[in-house]
Symmetry: C2
Amino acid sequence: MTMMGRNRRLALLVEGRFTPLDAKTAVGVLRYRPDQVAAVIDGSRAGHTAQSCVGVGGSIPVVADLDAAAACGADSLLIGVAPQGGELPEEWRATVREALHRGWDVLSGLHVFLGDDPELCALAANSGARLIDTRRPPRGRPVAARRAAVLDALVVLTVGSDCNVGKMTTSLELVRGLQARGTSAAFVATGQTGIFVADSGVAVDAVPGDFAAGFVERLVLEAAAHAEVIVVEGQGALHHPGYSGVTLALLHGSCPRAMVLCHQAGRERVRPPNSREERTESRPQIPPLAELVRAYEAAASWVCAGRVVGVALDTHELSESDARHVVQKAAHESGRPATDPVRFGPEVLIDAVEACRVRGGDRATLG
Amino acid sequence: MTMMGRNRRLALLVEGRFTPLDAKTAVGVLRYRPDQVAAVIDGSRAGHTAQSCVGVGGSIPVVADLDAAAACGADSLLIGVAPQGGELPEEWRATVREALHRGWDVLSGLHVFLGDDPELCALAANSGARLIDTRRPPRGRPVAARRAAVLDALVVLTVGSDCNVGKMTTSLELVRGLQARGTSAAFVATGQTGIFVADSGVAVDAVPGDFAAGFVERLVLEAAAHAEVIVVEGQGALHHPGYSGVTLALLHGSCPRAMVLCHQAGRERVRPPNSREERTESRPQIPPLAELVRAYEAAASWVCAGRVVGVALDTHELSESDARHVVQKAAHESGRPATDPVRFGPEVLIDAVEACRVRGGDRATLG
């Protein structure tokens, strides 16, 4: 599979931020498209491997600069962070300029579009490089109208207790697991990292609110043409003060019959949008899992009934025995099968999803 | 008060669509800014008055074309409809061109920005006219973080059973009524028509989803600097398949202590996004009022508790005795005071809002 038009040897730019939480985009690409990655650029960690820094990416080297990345065979630059607010860190501008000067395409999932920057556009035009902004909304102004509710295909949506709790990862593990069982399953990417991984999709958080559900609906209908199970990557959380609207648009655009609730074990409060300025008290507490289940099922029912069929925990900060314990506890509290799909495999979730297929179109709908 | 920079004599362009539901923007401007309107352009109704066509606007004339509007003193053109999808009706293009040729500013709340149209831009530049797109997102990428929850001012949000059920009108009637009682009240406009009326605000349905709640939060914080009660214009509905995300972003960005639920008496199903293509069955049923109350209070509680304090009905399609009956029934069903604020006055709603001020900061908050 190509990435944005061709096979690439990417340098992932994450300078000073090559950690699992800060370099979310880079980590996603390393986990699911390592074939496209030549090197990671972070001068503060040069000499390490990707695996030693973020737990994925194997022996892909971390290097200090573009010269070193070029020596590893890189031919494209990918901005590997998704900072809140979505701007290009000013200190990275020189690196982007230099990449364009070399004729490298620059791939970005930032809210600020590189293709709208006159200086970068001029540099790209000079060298024949492309500026690829995956968050740029596609053409059209679709308005959702519950069209996904009547599909024969089973739609599964990952939902969460917060941002960055494993919705994309869980979605991709589900698709891999379903495919391994011979089920035709499709992944619908709805965020910048998912789009790099899938080489398609729409960044729903970047489209005008009126059309967010409509773009999701369109993606689901397209996927239904060639898959029996469609796993839609969720975004945000219903309890997140900044992003809940995007979450609800996804829920009502995709009309999932099944939802998988994602949560990072041990996280008690919604992560601040900007860790430098927010006090702890201003961050809402994450409710208990059973309450989250009720909230997502209630919100789904406003347009089309759907059920939370399982819980996916991110336990990477815990020891194995602690992880097993919190998984058991989550299953008990939520009344749903639970697992850490990366650590312990997604099988129980896949069983739950397959069970929905067997039951088929038995769900109640409004109206 | 000026409109977009100066006093205007507007011609409202609504050709062939001068009805209360189709010409929503024109009707709002006629109701709340008639001082700025010289004429309405609809050749199919030329010779009538605004009042006789849509029930507001008094003797403002309906005329056939720009020449006739100019004879009424018009000096600016306002696009008076907000079609789903948000494009300029192709057959109106000639009128817009002609207005620009005359040097008239053209004001638009469409999703498609006139200022991005090369031909119209060139015409405007030639004649010195301005293209004013009120739906264009302002600068910035604010992310909401429950900052409105800790204000001393009382935040009131109008919410609804659907689009176009009187949220803007109810908001403006509340502000007028509160001011008449000597309370310092501010209106926060969140849609294109409200922005024309208030001469400020942000069209939240047109900003990228990640920042919708953030822009609302910013508007509320600004309004709190000079008002004791802030009435925020709601958008969409939690049960609307296409627009629910915008509704939830507004709810979580503004953190209202009080909500007023708006509904059109007799409407049973969500209005289709495009009446030409949708079958009735695909449109969700509007739940009973008591269920809507529960849904809005539940959704508010995910970020910051708030209460539905009253119900505002649009009864314009009913006889007076039928209207009185449905108002009573709505009060009974919802357990909240109810009225048609335009027909019977907003007093019971204002009493309910004032009661929240007296109770002050007694609400439970998460976290």
